[in-house]
Amino acid sequence: MNAILYLLPISLLLAVISLIAFFWTVRRNQYQDLDGDCLRALVDEDLPLVRNTVDGK
């Protein structure tokens, strides 16, 4: 039973990594244009993703 004492915190720590990943996606505005991003996957060309600096986003 002692195993659970350190296993649970470790697994929580690993899970926190996924939370950080979520924060990263929010920060990079990946939820702004869900419709367009769906279609972008079908487009062959890769336009460079330049962050728009005007509105500071």
């Binding site: 979520f22 336009l47 986003k57």
Partner: protein, 694 residues
Amino acid sequence: MSVMHETYSLPDARCAGCILKIEKALSHVSGIRHVRGNATQKRIQISWEQASHSSEKIQSIIGGLGYTATPIKDAPADDDLRPLLYRLGVAAFCMMNVMALSISVWFGGIGDMGWGTTQFLHSLSAVLALPVAFYSGSVFHVPAWEAAKRRQMIMDTPISIAILVTYLASLFELFRGAEHVYFDAVVGLIFFLLIGRVLEHIMHQRSGDAAANLRRFLSVDVQRVTADGTTELISADQLEPGDVICVAAGDRLSADGELMSKSAIVDESVLTGESVPKTLQKSERICAGAILISGPVFVKITKVGEATEIGQMAKMAEDVVAHKGRLQRLSDQFARGYIPLVFGGGALGFLIWYFVIGASFVQATLIAVAVLIVTCPCASGLATPAVTSRAMNLSMGQGVIIKSGRALEYLGQVDHVFVDKTGTASFVTASLDADLPTHAHRTVQKLARASHHPFAQALVSDSKICPQDDVSEIPGKGIESANGARLGSAEFTGGDLNSDYSLWFRDQGSKAIPIKTVERPAAGFEVFLDHAQRRQMDVSLLSGDTEKSVRKFAQQVGDVEFWAKCSPMDKSKRIRDRVDQGERVMMIGDGINDCVALATADVSVSFAAASQIAQNSADVVLTNRDFSNLTKAMEMARRARALIAQNLGFAMIYNVVTIPLALVGVLTPALAALLMSSSSLIVMLNALRLRMPK
């Protein structure tokens, strides 16, 4: 090398594919640094080298692809969603983990989980619940605190208190080594509520986006007089001090200026609140936002600045969502007195359980908390706005701008429709006699340009001609220039009263000449009449035209009731008669002579191409003259009313059922949280059921 940035709205783009197509095409153009489209907002952000292109050139490139691009100034900041998303992320993560731990404890309680293990799992839950209660919970704590500073209680107050009390009580129980803790209630409550908040925010954002995108349809174009005496149509944003513009009667001034014509009558109620029109003389100042009652006049621009149009647009979007119908208003009044009742109920529960029934302090507190949570009137508070906001988005997508929630409410209840004939129900074409002398031709054109009347507008073949100023237009009769030339009805010009002609011209010192006009039903009008019949709505035509021509048109569209030779006051009177009989009346019109009628009706409809004074008085504005869009909007408004009733009914039932359950002690805080948040979510999801009819 300097780089220009601009954001354009693309209202014509039907799908994400269109936006990507434009993006791809633009990225190949040299001199364009960066292109990024946003299919959700229907916008595109472009950066280009100032030396290679201008904004107009970019717009024409996009125009070449078949889409209109309108620059958006003041693009509203939409990163408000991100803080909410962060908090939701934390709440979601912690909730899932705390639930996992909770379920373990619950099963362990049935089996043989030792005290030590239980305590360990509880402690982990406590640690996980901490950021949720305070970071994610700040969404409720901050507004509740702000309100408390003003000695007020808002809907967030009971939630905030419930969160804090439950968390602290659970901590207390944990330190005491007790068997039950309630961290799952805290995180569950916050998680579900935050989902609701995020959905609400996205909806709100969408309606703001839609409103901003449609800006160009609400007439921010002005007629500027060029050096060679002709006029050109430009966007109000491009005005500079020193420009001379021609403002038609019924239009609003988009910048400050100095009056160049002899005199003008203006309505400055937007600025001063006075509805009594003011008369201004030459070289007096006219302020931006004022509406011309007489016109057209020439104005020299002195100052350009924040256009009031933008403020109007933003306000419009907010107003719709903020409106509450009659039922909702009652419900809100109830909610205001409700919050003290909520606390009272919680306190009552506590007192009964602690003193009367003899439960432990913590148990009694938790029952009180369950009552607090479950009685929150969030569902009834959301019932109407959720539907109204969705309805507004849907109708905007069809090109129907509904300006207020009340308009939406009435739109679904119409009993009687009055429609102006000329230019509204009918589409007018007019042609001048070819063998009219040139100078007379020119006089007619200048007079016609000076009037907003559909007959006159149909006559104008050269839109660059400078309109005649110093005219007096008598709504319902005609327009007269300073030297006696008249354009208008047979009566007004001295033409043959018994003939078939509706429009006549009389030059000074000449005889009146008839002008051939042809009227056809407007697009979608017959569909509209059909729908009105099916819904048992009466339709009447109102017109200032002769009895003969109105009868002809009425019979053409299907034997509709009509009133001919109506002055603007007559039109308004017909409407008032119906309103006084208790019927819900709709008026559809577009001219200055419809304004009083538009204001008298319960819900009024106008077009984006109409004079601004008509647009101002109207509750609903159609971006193109197609009645089938209006028909769809009316059907949708009916469905919206049904959904609002459903929502309010559901909210009421929910409260009636759950409050006794909480008082009796059947609901744990976790269950209470689940019930309460799901009620809000159900209300919101129900609103999403609203669809535009085919």
